[in-house]
Amino acid sequence: MNIKAQICMVMNLDKCIGCHTCSVTCKDTWTNRPGAEYMWFNDVETKPGQGYPRGWEDQIKNKGGWELKNGKLKLKQGGKLMRMLKIFFNPVLPTIDDYYEPWTYNYEQLTSAPQGTHQPVAKPISSITGIGSKLNWGPNWEDDLAGSNVSAPLDVNLMGLEENLRLEYEDTFMFYLPRICEHCLNPSCVASCPSGAIYKREEDGIVLVDQEACRGWRFCISGCPYKKVYFNWKTHKAEKCTFCYPRIEAGLPTICSETCVGRIRYIGLILYDADRVKQAASVKGDRELLSSQLSIFLNPLDEGIRKEAIRNGIPEEWIEYARRSPIYKLIVEWKLALPLHPEYRTLPMVWYIPPISPIADKVIQMTGSEADIFPSIDKLRIPIKYLANLLTAGDEQPVRAVLKKLAAIRIYMRAISVGVQPEWDLIKGSGMTEQEIKEAFRLLSIAKYEERFVIPNSHKELARDLYTDQGMVGLPFYEREEYAKYLAFKGKASKGHYPGSSADSDAMSGKI
């Protein structure tokens, strides 16, 4: 057994209001700079829809992630040799048009236009070429189903749904899907990188791109099935969501989670057996992947696991945090959260609680009785099949189980607050105990800050080479002077001048 700790996230889609605050604060923090304008480390998609980049879920075309070939786990975009032959031209790399050509507006026109009969208009201009650009896609192009009569029929998650259930106006359904990098346990971007520049951090499992080692071979971008590695057209290197590691290391949540107005995000630790990752990703059927991934998560409350984890170098403080992890409860104990597209076989570590609100309301209206909820769960507005295609490789059973639990929580809490007897049969049928329902309600609905985010401090102040490993940070320098300062500092640091020198750390944190 090789126990590793993974920092992971659960998003409660039931509560996402699609406000894009996560996207905006993430962009302001990380990708608000030339070459990265088109990158959204966090984006919020309206489902059904093609998403961003356009059609990212279509792996027949994109060839992202892994597949099982003759019982062996292989990258979908081909073996190492095959890809080396394609290094001069990557046939499955998206172009900027699949994301969108970044644009700004010609604001000056508003004040400098000569007097005329019409109001002057600020026209969009491309941030790449500086000339007028036609807008035909973007990170939230399909917001609230805008234009989805055109684009959504190509959503691959609609496959297997009855034709009339899909997008008829009367049957329209929608929900929001905020997406960040999955920081997978079996990341196909890492396996795709010829330079070994993308790596998984041993300590917390965050996947980062070493900007000094990246050579721009682009295979990570096509290798990631979630299309969450981006190519900076200015630095010619790959960049991706860093799980806000500087904040995580200090015990703070990511910026997208911190600023989430719906309080839908949860962050915590999961302990898992790294030796069994490959085996778990290689199970035969796509629908077995959910249970195989669950099987490698370890119970932090188990004394044997605790001892083994300490032997594997995990700090005791971290195990305490793992024991309080909201993630462990949501994913393993209560089984309320499900992974995004487990069939990609990357063992993703950002999971989702499927949405119920628009469903239950309609059901209650229809039948007028809460007791009818469970049999009616199949007649919900968001088709279970759609959620299953998104979250469980098409297996409806786990989705149905989660929705039943969410319904049971509501029924129980409603009964408590209006002062009637809860329908015990229903609650028992959901598979949750009364105690679990109370806890889940507190975590999901009250959602206290310190209960949503249980993040241990990484104690970077104790780390051996805080500054010499600066190249591993995952973001590039833009200004020549900043880069020179960094190099000068690195030179000094490697000569051993840095430890404890407050002047030096000020220079690092303030300027570079």
Binding site: M84, F89, R215, G216, T235, Y483
Partner: protein
């Protein structure tokens, strides 16, 4: 006695070029790891790149093999295998011409792409144009020999002059006499070839040395520790 101009051209210049090549590469690797990339622009334009890049790179690989065959491997080796000059020349002429023409065409497509595509043009720097044009000049000068000299003058066994000279440089015993006896176009290509090495560390061409061979035997998932020495 070697004339001073010849000494400058065929002894001092080559060693200066090679010194710049070696020191330049080390300097670049150490000082500019952030700038060491293949500078791919595929994300901005893919159709022309597919043709230009594939044609140029693959042909370039064959050209490198051809240069190793013709320059680094001595004639005696071919003689011992019983390969006559006429049979060597057929391989060299046809192989070299086909690879050369494809490479030149590829470069022309890449240059046209850089000048024509709005996005690629907007993101191009001096380095990009310089590299393409410089490679084009060298390739054309090479074709002056493989195609031009052979068709206009006749077959020429460069293994006996250029090959001997280059190997004498590598062994630090420069043989100036043998190179001065070679035809002018061959001399020109040799000088430009040396310049290629001197210029390489300062262009995007450094990515040649990052060709990811170790990837072939690397394990799939890379872990790095931030607290332990990796």
């Amino acid at each position: 006695m070697v004339a001073e101009s010849q000494l400058l051209l065929w002894v001092i210049y080559p060693y200066v070029a090679m010194t710049i090549f070696v020191v330049g590469l080390i300097w670049r690797y150490d000082r500019d790891p952030w700038g060491w990339t293949s500078k791919s622009s595929q994300i901005l334009e893919r159709r022309m790149l597919m043709w230009g890049s594939m044609m140029f790179h693959w042909a370039f690989m064959f050209i490198i093999i051809g240069h190793i065959m013709g320059i680094l491997i001595p004639v005696s080796f071919y003689n011992s295998l019983g390969v006559s000059f006429s049979s060597y020349h057929i391989i060299s002429f046809y192989g070299g011409s086909i690879a050369g023409v494809i490479a030149v065409l590829g470069l022309v497509i890449l240059l046209a792409r850089r000048l024509m595509d709005k996005r690629v043009k907007a993101t191009s720097g001096v380095d990009d144009y310089f590299t393409l044009i410089f490679l084009l000049i060298i390739m054309v000068s090479g074709m002056l020999n493989t195609l031009g000299y052979t068709l206009l003058v006749g077959p020429y066994d460069y293994r006996l002059t250029i090959g001997v000279y280059v190997r004498s440089l590598i062994l630090f015993r420069p043989d100036v006499a043998v190179i001065t006896s070679a035809p002018f176009t061959y001399q020109l290509h040799t000088l430009l070839g040396l310049l290629f090495f001197a210029v390489l560390p300062f262009t995007r061409l450094v990515h040649i040395f990052s060709f990811p061979l170790p990837y072939m035997w690397r394990k799939n998932i890379v872990y790095r520790s931030t607290s332990k020495k990796g």
